[in-house]
Symmetry: none
Subunit: 309 residues, 2 copies
């Protein structure tokens, strides 16, 4: 049943479809309409919102800009063309970062969708540098570079997904190939809820495992209550959390404090990652590992203390 002028056949979207498509919740879509006068969906016979293709496109672009730190009130009035221009513009005065040779080559492969070569190149870097060198000198700069490129709009979402997925495969493969001795300390690795970034966790796991510690990873997003349970069940000596820069800065300290309070005294709490919140408040009872290189000395310290006791 097409209407008489269905020839133009504009695809129309219900509010649920727009939610799926843009990642903006129904609540947000309604509240924007009320507050900012955009979007302006027409209504169907039943009074329900019907969004046009253009508006969905603009909403999608808006969502991307929000993810990069823009605020809706500031940009929602602009035209789609302006928004696209904004997305392309480099944010503020961030100079094009200079990359070492290998990371630059790898980034180029990612941009050109050469999956097999990308994986190959990563594998070669790994063999050349060893896992520790690979993690600190290739993976960490690459993560930065991919993140930067994403902020600049130079990289599509799916390219970033592909990067994460590929790197995850390489890192996991490397970690699995390290012989496990079951030596102390027993380190429980995870992230708090809403922290989805998996690569930081894997890098840390690699460093811990390389140093001969017994690393047990729960993956991302473990509720605090369950971290405490897990630490007890696995008789963990150390609980290590990773915080990416995408994680809300304020929640870092709160989460660590709460976890610290609920963990037994004897269990140490270590935190690391690129999040700025790790360097703010002084967190008593939490060891901050600013860089991946800080993991080895921290482990050495722990072992010295354990030997003394």
């Amino acid at each position: 049943m097409q209407s008489a002028q269905a020839s133009t056949e504009e695809p129309l979207y219900s509010i649920g479809a727009v939610e799926r498509d843009t990642g903006l919740t129904k609540d947000t879509l309604r509240v924007w309409e009320r507050r900012y006068g955009f979007p302006t969906p027409v209504r169907d016979a039943n009074g329900e919102r019907v969004y046009s293709r253009e508006q969905v496109a603009k909403l999608r672009t808006l969502k991307r800009l929000l993810d990069r730190g823009h605020r809706p009130g500031r940009i929602i009035g602009r035209s789609l063309a302006e928004l696209v221009a904004l997305a392309d513009a480099a944010p503020a005065a961030a100079p094009e970062p200079v990359l070492a040779e290998a990371p630059a080559r790898i980034l180029a492969l990612l941009r050109e969708h050469r999956v097999a070569e990308l994986r190959e190149e990563l594998g070669q870097s790994l063999m050349r540098q060893g896992l520790a060198g690979f993690v600190t000198e290739t993976v960490a700069p690459l993560n930065r570079a991919v993140g930067d490129a994403w902020m600049r709009g130079q990289i599509e979402v799916f390219e970033e997904h592909l990067y994460t997925e590929t790197m995850q495969g390489v890192l996991r493969g490397a970690i699995a190939s390290i012989p496990q001795h079951g030596r102390p300390p027993r380190v429980l690795l995870t992230t708090l809820p809403n922290e989805q970034h998996h690569l930081g966790l894997l890098m840390a796991q690699a460093m811990f495992t390389l140093e001969g510690a017994t690393a047990i990873s729960l993956g991302t997003q473990t509720p605090i209550f369950d971290i405490v349970l897990a630490a007890a069940s696995h008789r963990a000596d150390v609980v290590a959390l990773s915080f990416s820069s995408a994680y809300p800065t304020v929640q870092v300290a709160d989460g660590l404090e709460e976890l610290r309070a609920k963990l037994p005294r004897a269990v140490e709490l270590w935190a690391g990652g690129t999040n700025a919140g790790l360097r703010r408040r002084d967190l008593t009872g939490v060891r901050i590992c600013d860089t991946l290189e800080a993991i080895a000395p921290a482990l050495a310290e722990w072992r010295a203390a354990a030997a003394a006791a």
Copy 2:
């Protein structure tokens, strides 16, 4: 500031958390409360719903029964024990009363937190059965078993995390060891936003790769628009999506329809997973792979068609 009896401190869930955990939308949760008197969340200082662990467990079980065709009004009044009995009773064609020997042993290891042995046992099953057999006869039943145990509250969240993480390592290792020939079809694998389950995707990737296809995984949660972009960039012949039972049933058909409309005709769209929504509406232009075993014949068909053209 802990309350006097903070030691018991049950974890509490907001309505948004319950939505994520159970796959029941906020609207549904509120309307059930209004109509059936269940769930009965307490309210926090701000008047917002706070759900207990037990109620979330019951809601999860209810969701599972709904997926099997039960209706909420008929079963919502029963106790969790009754619901579990109902879930166990006659799941039609698949009684599966006794877990095969290996999966049972593996589940026991998980419950006892013997990580090293768990990984070892999984590795041995893999070697014994080969990857295809491992995926269909060990991983798939194990996923079920873990899901069931979780639904009944027999397994902690962190145990489920550990299972997922460990299995992910094993599967990725196995996939990486398959030689890649770059043969067609080129298959792009991912899930839609809000679908976080990674194991289904990895199992599918294993099957595709085993059959000699070129599988490119974007990991989970790729927006529809970006799937379309990725399919073009990677010149995909097939886009394959995975839907776990936690994904809102109704959105399955909608999401697939929308993606189908935006993908070029020449690109096939395949979908699989445990979600009940895959068996509901007739989805034109989408190939449903009910089981992992269905992937091989589907590939064979595609190749036959490609050869004919």
